[in-house]
């Protein structure tokens, strides 16, 4: 097998049997997904065709491999996965055949060869409490991130753990987990949150980087606006039911069967920004809300700590019933005490009241 390293992306895709037609279809879909003018489709195609495989180093820290699964575990070899094959993934300890020192050598070699040019992808959060919580080849996650970030052109934080801390960061955060952007301050960071992120969003961000050599426009928490610009709620096909006030009350009532809004079942769609409602999952087959389950809000920070997945957004997250009972009990006691004090003051005033008589006037 010839070394893919020297081939362009176009050559590699052709080798893999991808037709010109399906390649252009992918370019058109990507352009429309990124809200780019159709005039840019040939430019995207041209840029992708001639792109040399950029070196990509993928670091996995405190994560569940769900993000990698999302990207690679398609039922058929999608164009997205081929694009992914076509980048030079020089280090990914889950996917690569090498292990141990050989793997670390591959990473170091890629970093040295492509210093300043490689793309660093991180999934998983970084524990700060004790470096021993998560190590790779004896290197702590923190040290590996700092070392690998030095020569990176840009960093893509894949998944909510890398972007915002995710599950490891959830209260009480036993490992002191933080996100990539909590540590790295001097490199462009693209947050691609989701638990996991949508595969096409991951490849879309990579395509943008390959095509334009720059990072896409980001929102206030570092997410590419093209994919995270609109909320689930605003693009949800069940939105008309919310507007009419028609809700499923349980998972198996008439409302649920009729496909009414899942707000009352805890849907976080109104406060969640992601592309699920438009791109969907599994090749556009379906997505959580279409499958009848409320949105968990997985592309937002602290989504594990929102008071429970089945608690609707208008509900308080604390146990307010208990608060009311305790407060009422305390307040009744305090009220009675204050009332008694007022009464005592009144009685004292009455007792202290002395009548003025004729004798007093003569004094």
């Amino acid at each position: 097998m010839t070394n893919n390293k020297d081939k362009t992306l176009g050559e590699i895709l052709r080798d893999q049997g991808v037709s010109r037609r399906s390649f252009l279809k992918y370019c058109a879909a990507t352009a429309s997904m990124m809200a780019l003018s159709p005039a840019l489709i040939p430019k995207i195609a041209h840029a992708l065709e001639n792109a040399k495989r950029p070196s990509v180093i993928w670091l996995s820290f405190q994560e569940c491999t769900g993000c990698t699964e999302s990207l690679t575990r398609a039922h058929t070899a999608t164009i997205e996965s081929l694009i992914f094959d076509a980048i030079s993934l020089d280090y990914h300890h889950t996917l690569q055949a090498a292990s141990g020192h050989a793997a670390e050598e591959a990473r170091e070699e890629a970093m040295k060869e492509n210093f300043g040019k490689y793309l660093l992808i991180v999934d998983g959060s970084i524990p700060l409490d004790n470096p021993g919580y998560s190590t790779i080849a004896g290197i702590s996650n923190y040290d590996m991130l700092i070392e690998s970030a030095k020569g990176a052109a840009a960093i893509v934080a894949i998944g909510t753990c890398a972007a915002f801390g995710g599950l490891p960061h959830a209260n009480p955060n036993p490992t002191g987990a933080v996100s990539v952007s909590d540590i790295i301050k001097d490199k462009p960071i693209i947050n691609v949150p989701g638990c996991p992120p949508i595969p096409v969003v991951i490849t879309g961000v990579l395509t943008h980087f390959l095509t334009f050599g720059s990072i896409p426009e980001l929102d206030h928490i570092g997410r590419p606006k093209v994919f995270y610009g609109q909320s689930i709620h605003d693009r949800c096909y069940r939105r008309p039911f919310y507007d009419k006030g028609l809700f499923a009350e349980t998972f198996d009532d008439e409302g649920a069967r009729k496909g009414w809004c899942l707000y009352k079942l805890g849907c976080k769609g109104p406060t969640t920004y992601n592309a699920c409602a438009t791109t969907k999952w599994n090749d556009g087959t379906s997505w959580p809300i279409e499958a009848g389950h409320p949105c968990l809000g997985c592309s937002e920070p602290d989504f594990w700590d929102g008071g429970g997945f089945y608690k609707s957004l208008s509900m308080p997250t604390e146990n307010i019933t208990q608060t009311v009972i305790y407060t009422a009990a305390g307040a009744i006691a305090a009220g009675v005490a204050l009332g008694a004090m007022n009464k005592a003051r009144k009685n004292n005033a009455v007792a202290a009241h002395s009548k003025t008589g004729v004798d007093d006037l003569e004094k």
Partner: protein
Amino acid sequence: MTEIEFLSWVRGPGFQIAVIIFIAGVIIRFAEILLLGRKANLAEAKGSEMSSGLRTIVTRSIPDKSTFQRSTFTIVAGYVFHLGLFVTIFLFAPHILMFKDVIGFGWPSLPTPVVDAIAVVTIIALLTVLVHRMRSTVLRFLTNTEDYLVWMVTILPLITGYIAFHRIGMTAPTLLAIHILSVEILLVVFPFTKLMHGFTVVLSRWYGGAISGYKGVES
């Protein structure tokens, strides 16, 4: 603080603090009023205090003809925004979910577009009563800072709620958090201002009716 942290705070500790102040404030004020006691009335009772008192709680809601003619605007606008507040607070589906979570039971909601329209009417009514108040020399003279504060904390949850529902201007978590925060401000201010009339209105009406009942006259 990110917008999600802001939302988590107002749904969590913020709401808890507001509820504690609200419940404690209302109960303590009630206890103080009730424990103040009344001087024994040495005159012979000419009728029942209780029945007259209870009746008056209801009858005072109906303005008499001459009062209505004198203050038509105040009464109509007052009714509109009070009923509007009732509908928007208690008959909007997401709000009922909140009550259900706290007190354990819920009730049917009105269709969302109806509540939405009533919210707009309520906001307009509250704006007009303020304009009316500012334009009338006597009312303006009688109005103090507390009255403006009370008006402000009442209209804010309506406006922020309307904006949050229609998702105008800012990101959704921020809008929702601002709305919940405005309600928390209302809860905190409630027991210590004229807003307390929401509860004491029952007591004071009963008392007015009871005095008349004792004297055997119509209240």
